[in-house]
Symmetry: C2
Subunit: 388 residues, 2 copies
C-alpha cells in the first residue's frame, strides 16, 4: 500500500525538496494534503502535479485565489491555522511532513501526533519549545517523530535502533557558518547579506542567520536531547567546515559511527520518507577524496548563542520557548537592518534574564511564554535602539 | 546464560587481546577451550586464569609439558591438528574465536561451522582461500561468521543489518603502511625491520608485512566480498593514514556510514563478542579534534599486491588459495632476509601465472592448490636467488 503523505509548508525550501524526493521515490508514495502560507500560484502548480485531496493556505485572500484557480479539480481548499490543523490530522495521511518555520509548527505537529500520525519533522523549533511537553505526553517514543534535519537524521542513522543507554556522546557537527574565521570585533558590522551567504548549505533566511550565530546548533542540541533521550552533558558540538560528516555518535565501548554525504537536504528527507528502506537517487555523490575532514571545538565566546541554548535547556520549562521566541524576533530584526549581528545574543540573553520559568508547562503556557518573550524582545529592542 | 567461548590461537596478538576483552566483559562470558601452537608456558598461565575444560597445543612436546604443568587442574590437554579441530567443535562452546594465522585456520573454521557454532574470525586467509566454498555450503549467512578484523567489523557495523542490494560501494580504508610516502625505487632496499614498523597499528609480523605490501588490503577486499556478498567492482580501497575511520559503506541513496575509533583491536573483538549489545570499555578514547582525516586513492603501481588480489578473485576457484600461499611463502622469505621487498609481488605473480585454476573446489582441492603454490613459490624463489 502506498505511503500517504500530508506536507505542511510545501512552498518553502524543505517543502519543495520534499516534493522532489517524492517524485524520485515514485510509486508507493502519494501526496494527500499540501499546505503553505500565501503563495497561491506555487501551491496551485503543486496541487496540479501531485493531486492531493486537501490544499491549505494560511492567508485567507490567497486561499480564495487558490480555490478559484483549482475550480476544475476535486481538491478541498481551506485556510487559516484551522486549515493547517486539518491537514495535520487529515484522515487519509499516514505520514505528516512538518516543514513549517518557527513556533508556528508546534500545534500542527501536536495535532498530527494526537491523530496517531508519524511525523517527519524539519521544524526544529517544535522540539525546542515543546520537547518536554511532547516527551511527557509519550509522543517521543522511537519512530513516532522522524527527523529531517541533516544532523538529526545522521544521529538517527548512526544509532541504528540502539537505545540511549548505549550512547556515550552525541557529536553534532556544525559548519561554523560564514563567520567561522571572522574576527570577533568585526562581527558587530556584518550585514544580513553576509549572514545569508552560507558556505556549504543553501537554506532559507531564518536558518541561515541561525547558522551564522550558531543558535541553529544550540537549537539542534536541544532537539537532539528530546529526540534521542540523551542528557545535555553528553551532547557536544564539533565545528566541521566541510559539512560532509553530518553528525556522529560515540558509543559506550569507544566506537564512533558517523554519517557522511554531500550537503543535500534531499538525502535526509528521503531517508525519513523511505525508512526503513533506502532508495537509489540520481543526485550528486560524495567524493571521499575531494577534501580532508577537520573537526574543532566551537568558540563559545565568539558565538554566545550556543551557550544560551544550553542554559535554556538547563533552566527547563518555558525557558527554551522564551529562547526561541526572542531569537525569532532578533533574527527578524537583524534581517530588517534594525539590530546588529552581535546584539542578537544580547537581546536573547536580556529576554531570558527577565523570564520567570514555569516548569512542566502545558501548551497554553508555552504559547504564553512565546508571546511574552516576543513582546519583551520588542521592548528591549527599543532600548538597544535608543542606546545606539 | 553465559556465552561460552573456544579461543583458537590464544597466545598470538589477537588471542591475547581476546582474553583481555573477555576480562573486560566480565560475567556472562566463559572460556571453555584454548588452543595455541607451542607456547606451553603462556597457555598454562591462561588456563590457570580462565579455567577452560580443554587446552590444545599443536606441538606434541609442548603439549606434554603443558599436561605436566596442569597436573593439579581438571583440564583435558590435546595436541596436533586433531586437537585444534576438537577445540573448534567443542560441544561446550557457543562461539569459536578463530585467531590462527594463515591457511592453518581453514579446517578448524570449517569444523566449527559444521558443528553449528558461531565463528568470530580474525583469520582472513580462511575467507580468502575458502570463501567460495563456505558460501556454496551455505555457511556465509548473516550472523554465522562475525568479523574481528577492524575493517570488516566497521563494515558490519555500518551495514547495520541492511542487505547487500542497498549497498552502492564498500570503502575499505588502509593506512597505506610504513612505505606510503617511500620512493618506489627505494622500496627494493627496505628491510624487514622497516616493514614491521607499522605507523598506526601494533600487529604480528605476517600482517605487518602484508600491510606494507598492501596485500593485506587485497586479502581484505576478497574477505569483504565473501562476508558481505558485495561484488568485487563495488569494493574500493581508500588510503587513510590516520587509521581512525576503519571503513565505510556508501548506500544506494548516496548516504555513507563510517565507523571510527582509536586503532585498537580490542574494540572490534569486543563488538563481535558482545554483539548485538555494546559494553563500556576503560580503554583510550578517540579524540575527534586530534587530527584531520584524509582519504586518497591507492597507488596501484607502487603496490601491485592489491591488483594481484583483485585478479585472483576474478580468476576465482583455487586462484585465491594460490595467491595466499605464494604470499605466505614470500613474506616468510622476506622476513628471513631471502627476498627483496619488491620481489614479493613478483614471486606471487609468477606463481599465479603458472596456476591452472580449478573452479568450485572442495576442501582437498584447496589444500592441494595451497601446497602446489608453496612448492612453486620455493622453486621460483631459487630462480630469483640465482638471478641476483
Amino acid at each position: 500500500m502506498a505511503k500517504r503523505i500530508a506536507l505542511l509548508g510545501s512552498t518553502g525550501s524543505i517543502g519543495r525538496q520534499t516534493l522532489e524526493v517524492i517524485e524520485n521515490l515514485g510509486k508507493g508514495y502519494r501526496v494527500v494534503a499540501l499546505t503553505a502560507g500565501s503563495n497561491s500560484r506555487e501551491l496551485e502548480q503543486q496541487v496540479r502535479r501531485f493531486r492531493p485531496g486537501l490544499a491549505v493556505l494560511s492567508n485567507i485572500e490567497a486561499a480564495a485565489a487558490l480555490e478559484r484557480g483549482l475550480y476544475d479539480l476535486d481538491c478541498r481548499v481551506e485556510t487559516g491555522p484551522e486549515g493547517q490543523l486539518l491537514a495535520a490530522g487529515w484522515p487519509e495521511a499516514d505520514l505528516v511532513v512538518v516543514a513549517l518555520v518557527g513556533f508556528s509548527g508546534f500545534f500542527p505537529t501536536l495535532a498530527a501526533l494526537e491523530a496517531g500520525k508519524i511525523v517527519a519533522l524539519a521544524n526544529k523549533e517544535v522540539l525546542v519549545v515543546g520537547g518536554e511537553l511532547l516527551a511527557r505526553k509519550g509522543f517521543l517514543q522511537l519512530g513516532q517523530i522522524l527527523p529531517l534535519d541533516s544532523e538529526h537524521s545522521a544521529i538517527w542513522q548512526c544509532l541504528g535502533g540502539r537505545s540511549s543507554d548505549q550512547v556515550r556522546r552525541i557529536w553534532l557537527t556544525a559548519s561554523g557558518g560564514p563567520f567561522l574565521h571572522q574576527d570577533a570585533e568585526r562581527l558587530s558590522r556584518v550585514t544580513p547579506e553576509d549572514a545569508l551567504a552560507h558556505p556549504t548549505w543553501k537554506m532559507g533566511p531564518k536558518i541561515s542567520v541561525d547558522s551564522a550565530t550558531m543558535m541553529n546548533k544550540g537549537l539542534e542540541v536541544i532537539e537532539a536531547h528530546w529526540l534521542f533521550g540523551v542528557p545535555l552533558e553528553q551532547i557536544s558540538v564539533a565545528i566541521h567546515p566541510q559539512s560532509i560528516v553530518h553528525s556522529a555518535v560515540e558509543f559506550i565501548d569507544g566506537t564512533m559511527m558517523a554519517q557522511l554525504g554531500p550537503p543535500d537536504m534531499r538525502l535526509p528527507i528521503q531517508y525519513a520518507l523511505s525508512y526503513p528502506g533506502r532508495k537509489a537517487t540520481p543526485w550528486p555523490r560524495l567524493d571521499l577524496f575531494a577534501q580532508e575532514l577537520t573537526f574543532t571545538a566551537p568558540d563559545r565566546e565568539k558565538f554566545p548563542c550556543l551557550e544560551l541554548a544550553y542554559r535554556a535547556l538547563q533552566a527547563g520549562g518555558t525557558m527554551p520557548a522564551c529562547l526561541n521566541a526572542a531569537n525569532e524576533v532578533a533574527v527578524e530584526q537583524f534581517l530588517a537592518g534594525n539590530l546588529a549581528f552581535t546584539d542578537i545574543p544580547r537581546l536573547i540573553a536580556g529576554v531570558m534574564a527577565e523570564h520567570s520559568v514555569i516548569q512542566q508547562p502545558e501548551a497554553p503556557a508555552l504559547e504564553q511564554a512565546d508571546q511574552w518573550a516576543r513582546l519583551k524582545a520588542e521592548e528591549l529592542l527599543e532600548q538597544l535602539a535608543d542606546r545606539s
